[in-house]
């Protein structure tokens, strides 16, 4: 016999189900609560850096957009600082929350985030990562939240030296992580749960 480790196990995940919006964006579903839904506004005043729109949709294995998903993003400000209690490197832009939550459009499933282009953040070994936005997707049929990242197609140099992107075995899948500018300041990032365009999902 050896000593016991006495660690606990993480609570098992269960699907967010078809009515995640009741809990997380109740006003979106017509339930008047809290004076508004959380995560709808990422800018509380004038922000530093380049303001951008990121839009897209989440597609299932048949190519149908999900209309019952919830998408959250989390990112640093334009200087690469997070508005988080765990940020020890400096003070983030006080007018930027870094966190957005979208229910998607009820008919088309399209999500839209009004945000800023994120600054670069270091990897644990000190090398810089390419600018990216963390994404978390839950929906009916998804047993455990899916985690991916949005990188930017127009950051080719930073992407080429990113500690994670350069370690991906199937380099031909990297475009699934790249948002592309479709008009001035507007980026498109579609998420494919399955199929030949399946997005790279992370276990981090």
């Amino acid at each position: 016999m050896v000593q016991k480790r006495d660690y606990l196990r993480e609570s098992p995940s269960q699907t967010a189900g078809p009515y995640v919006h009741i809990g997380c964006t109740p006003n979106f579903t017509g339930i008047d609560a809290y004076g508004g839904d959380l995560g709808q506004v990422m800018k509380t005043g004038p922000v530093q850096g380049q303001e951008i729109i990121v839009k897209g949709a989440v597609y299932d294995g048949t190519g149908t957009p999900l209309r019952d998903a919830m998408i959250e993003i989390w990112q640093p400000d334009a200087a690469g600082l997070f508005a988080s209690a765990n940020e020890t490197r400096g003070d983030a832009d006080p007018n930027f929350t870094g966190w957005g939550r979208s229910s998607g459009d009820m008919d088309t499933g399209e999500f839209v985030f009004d945000t800023v282009k994120p600054g670069a953040v270091p990897f644990p070994d000190g090398r810089m990562q390419a600018p990216h936005i963390t994404v978390w997707i839950v929906a009916r049929g998804i047993n455990i939240g899916l985690h991916t990242r949005i990188y930017f197609a127009d950051e080719a140099e930073a992407n080429a030296s990113d500690p994670i992107l350069t370690r991906i075995e199937h380099q031909n899948r990297i475009p699934t992580l790249l948002a592309t500018e479709i008009s001035a300041g507007v980026y498109r990032f579609d998420i494919h749960l399955q199929g030949p365009q399946e997005t790279i999902f992370f276990d981090m």
Partner: protein
Amino acid sequence: MSLIKQTGGFVPRDRGWQPEALTPPYKTSVKRSPQAALLSFPTTLSEETSPLFGHDLIGELDNDLILNHAQPGQSAIGPRIIVHGRVVDEMGRGVPGALLEFWQANAGGRYRHKKESYQAALDPNFGGCGRTITAEDGSYEMRTIQPGPYPWPNGMNDWRPAHIHFSVFGHGFAQRLITQMYFEGDPHIKLCPIVGVLKSQEAVDALTAPLDMHRTVPMDSRAFKFDIVLRGRRQTCFENRPEGL
């Protein structure tokens, strides 16, 4: 640069314990499950930070689903219950300041949602959502009515056990979690294809709240205890350092 850091990265998620993406008896998972392997990396600042939610966010009735959608002087219909517990990490440390959001069906098993078609009646005094933020020791409390089981389109005659959905924010985005709480003794737990995605009885038990008579309010509300465990962070003086140091 100090060689001593209070915290390191998050402990990897135990994918052998958590449900798989593809679970065919839960049919919707079939076309919504990624098929390629996940890309595994140690956490970075992007996963080790998380948005701030202050206690001032929470209104007085936000954690009281019996009253938060009720007309003045009225209350939601159903068995009155208190749900309480602690949010802790895998090392057993309380997680203060965690945002919990809940949603559930009413006592008849009906959600307040325009896409919901079950014939059970809506309760005009019940919205079905609430939220709270954990205290310094990670504890939380909410009051609600016990939700009813309901049928759902999957198999020919599948019913969800009574459950409350929980969305949890800890201190790092890596801890982000959505799960469901079930009730001790519910015979539907064993039959449900969504509970069935859990890989062991131990995992089912981890989501099943026991009746807690110690916290019951006599002549008023029963109580159920539901603890939530989030991923933990390593604590070490020997964190990765920039190359060359």
